[in-house]
Symmetry: C2
């Protein structure tokens, strides 16, 4: 049986990622060095290449895990709010807060996910699904609200243009989230805008501008909820 070998390989891979994650959290992606990871693991640097073809691939593995952690935090917050019987608005706020909370707790991971794309330009396809989890949590809140009539559809005049609705129609079909395309369009915008708020706070753009960070974020998240049509 080759199970032993594969199990060992999996464990070592995990140990490498763990140490890499530690260094990433401490000093950021730019200072994460494969050699330092190997040194800390008491192993020759060349040995790591048996597990990751390059430093970028190691980073990609960390990216996937980070997306999963963020998505997990969002999903957990949603599940808690659901089981607590919170309103859809409160669920929305809970998911937003979870995204911000995870990001503040893991700034370097956040930077890895939503900061400058480090290697090339296109994210590897393996990161797509994990990356969607947080967004999906937001959409879930909305579709649940929509199902029970707790969602105000955008006025006809305020709806997104046709071309956009085509995109979001395809999107809701792909994700199997029952939601009118016009609402989905607002949701996508809110999704991007949420990360704008978080990113600005995290990367220091709010220095000397906003001190009451928590209150400011909560208020902005409420405005986002309003924008996507969640009734107050």
């Amino acid at each position: 049986m080759q199970g032993a070998r594969q199990r060992a390989r999996g464990e070592i891979t995990e140990a490498i990622k763990e140490e890499a994650r530690r260094q990433l959290a401490e000093q950021g992606a730019s200072r994460l060095s494969l050699r330092a990871v190997a040194r800390e693991l008491g192993v020759a640097s060349s040995a790591l290449y048996r597990y990751f073809p390059s430093r970028d691939d190691m980073l990609t593995a960390l990216i996937t895990d980070a997306y999963d952690a963020l998505g997990g935090a969002a999903e957990e917050a949603l599940a808690d709010a659901e089981s607590a019987g919170d309103s859809h608005l409160v669920r929305w706020l809970a998911v937003c807060r979870a995204v911000r909370g995870w990001s503040l707790a893991h700034p370097h991971e956040y930077a890895l996910l939503y900061g400058s794309p480090v290697p090339g330009y296109a994210a590897p396809s393996t990161t797509i699904r994990p990356a969607a989890r947080a967004a999906l949590a937001m959409l879930t809140v909305l579709s649940d609200a929509y199902a029970v009539g707790a969602l105000r559809a955008p006025a006809r005049a305020a709806a997104a243009p046709e071309a956009v609705l085509g995109d979001t129609e395809r999107l809701v079909a792909q994700l199997e989230v029952p939601l009118p395309p016009a609402v989905a369009a607002e949701a996508v915008a809110a999704w991007a805008q949420l990360f704008g708020l978080v990113g600005f706070e995290l990367f220091g753009q709010f220095a000397n501008v906003i001190d009451a960070r928590d209150a400011f974020f909560d208020h902005a998240a409420e405005r986002l909820a309003d924008q996507v049509g969640l009734r107050r």
Copy 2:
């Protein structure tokens, strides 16, 4: 007179920045190397240290310039819209489009400004003023609209909490922009959210989600205008 030396020094500094900017635009900040700049300039790498104490300081110089370029683009768009007699809503859209346009045209510079903070964590104080220019253009639109009564003040119930209003009151005083703190709070949020939209588009988060990028952005910018109280 020491003028000749100083002039030469200024010209060389500019040449270094120009070459660095070229490499930044081509390959991004992470691949910008001081040695490559020196090589391209036909000079020993150690010579550059007479002009910039470190690679990070060179990057900081580029950051300042990039903020100025972005701010200039925003201001120019605003000035054009003003002289064309456009409505305040259209001016707002013009500034938003200018920010997006510049960013799409200079992705690596954008990443340098709003992506992961590369070196430490705090931006040098010399970058603060240039960084504010684009934001100031947005605030200017709003204060002009407010002065002529073209701004809908947020409803009392929808206003930001007290702590936030304290921050934004200080902000409008510092920037000398005559604007109610409640409006300024929405403006700051819109500012961050605008860069969320731009950043997501630029960093590939919209891949397989939104194809009609222009239409989507315009629509989102209109919704932002609505959020800050600009009358349709």
